[in-house]
Symmetry: C2
Subunit: 219 residues, 2 copies
DNA sequence: ACACTATACGAACGATCGTGCGTACAATCA
DNA sequence: TGATTGTACGCACGATCGTTCGTATAGTGT
């Protein structure tokens, strides 16, 4: 599985560098606003070099989505995996997501919030890839919640899909409003809503402390 | 205040026709993706005609935002004003917003959800105008809720700004996911969440019937 | 009557877009 | 060694972008 071909290794490294700039640009300008020429300038490579590495703009967009997915997983999912499955991991995921948005892991805020709204009405492989990535995230949240239900950490009447919808709605709204208004206040709203929601679902108050602890405004 | 100059009357009529197409295109392609050439084709006027009517692309974008605001007010705000202030009007606003999104009053779903995510990280007059429009909507919801608190229709401990944040978050999420996945299921999630939220706030169950009544899937 | 203003258009501007071609170089493999 | 493949570049193509200019027409004022 490991690439040993020196040419491909070099190419992969180049793609990594270019994509690192691409996801940040796209989080601000969108995946359509991401132009090959300006991307080439930002990454200090030639325009035709970028074209060679990705073949077409659509393939560049798809590669950017995959690169963004990796950065998101490393920033939100992986750190939360130190917590045991169930309600504790859910809290870690939600708290980690707020930090991911607040700390601008992508220059323009959450990459997927920006590009999903851009492509939701444009059918094609780019939209499909974005929908798949969002379903992965929402599905992971729902699966974690389902485990919490099975463990009795929250009420048995709770619908995991319903919870995942509400949680991602609150997080996305906090992201967009924070970026739009250059304020951390929306994260406070999101924290309060998420804590209330989980308490109403029957979650133990002590486990929610991490979420309830509001340090966004101080930071 | 009424325009009597025949030239201006004709110009305003032309602007109205062009903007009618502009807001629908922008709800799909975004305000940057909205190009003067394609807008001219859609409205069956010349490209330079559009340029004459609006002066610059930025002024066209600002005019489109104002036109979208008018369509939104006529579609969501005005119909809800038949209900008395307070919780009843809030329910009418939320139910009306879901219908506004579900019925695709704009071709690509909510105009403001699409363009806000596009411009939230791009400082300038366009972003400011979008932020102002969104604040108007969120503020109207908060003011209505504050009235409901004062009337004792919901608990005195309830924060109107907090409620407005949560409500708009749920509505926006339902819109984006419905457009993205071409399904009405997200509206069901949003209804359930909004009803739960208002019931938890102390609202009378009977007033919430309109919101709880799920006909989105049947439609 | 005349000057002036507000649409509306065709034509063209320079700029940027995505893409393809030809070339050069390095790495792989027969 | 020679043929092939993957990167990387310069260059140029046709298309489209926002904008400007000149012109024509219709409505408004003096």
């Amino acid at each position: 599985m490991i690439e040993t071909d020196g040419r491909r290794v070099r190419g992969d490294a180049s793609r990594r560098v270019v994509l690192d700039h691409a996801v940040d640009i796209a989080s601000v300008e969108g995946l359509d606003g991401l132009s090959i020429g300006r991307l080439a300038d930002a990454a200090h490579v030639s325009k035709s070099g970028v074209a060679t590495l990705f073949g077409s703009k659509e393939r560049l967009q798809l590669a950017a989505i995959e690169a963004a997915r990796l950065r998101f997983v490393a920033s939100v999912i992986e750190p939360a995996r130190v917590e045991p499955r169930g309600i504790r991991r859910i809290v870690a995921l939600l708290d980690g997501w707020i930090a991911y948005s607040r700390d601008r892991v992508f220059t323009g805020g959450c990459f997927f919030a920006a590009t999903a709204a851009e492509f939701d009405a444009k059918p094609g492989s780019v939209r499909d890839a974005l929908a798949a990535a969002l379903d992965d995230w929402s599905g992971y949240l729902a699966a974690s919640f389902r485990y919490a239900v099975a463990q009795g950490e929250v009420g048995a009447d709770q619908d995991p899909e319903q919870f995942a919808f509400e949680a991602t709605a609150l997080l996305d709204a906090a992201n967009t409003r924070s970026v739009m208004g250059d304020s951390n206040q929306p994260y406070v709203f999101a924290r309060r809503a998420l804590v209330s929601r989980l308490r109403a679902a029957g979650a133990d108050a002590a486990v929610l402390a991490r979420l309830a602890d509001v340090d966004d405004l101080a930071a």
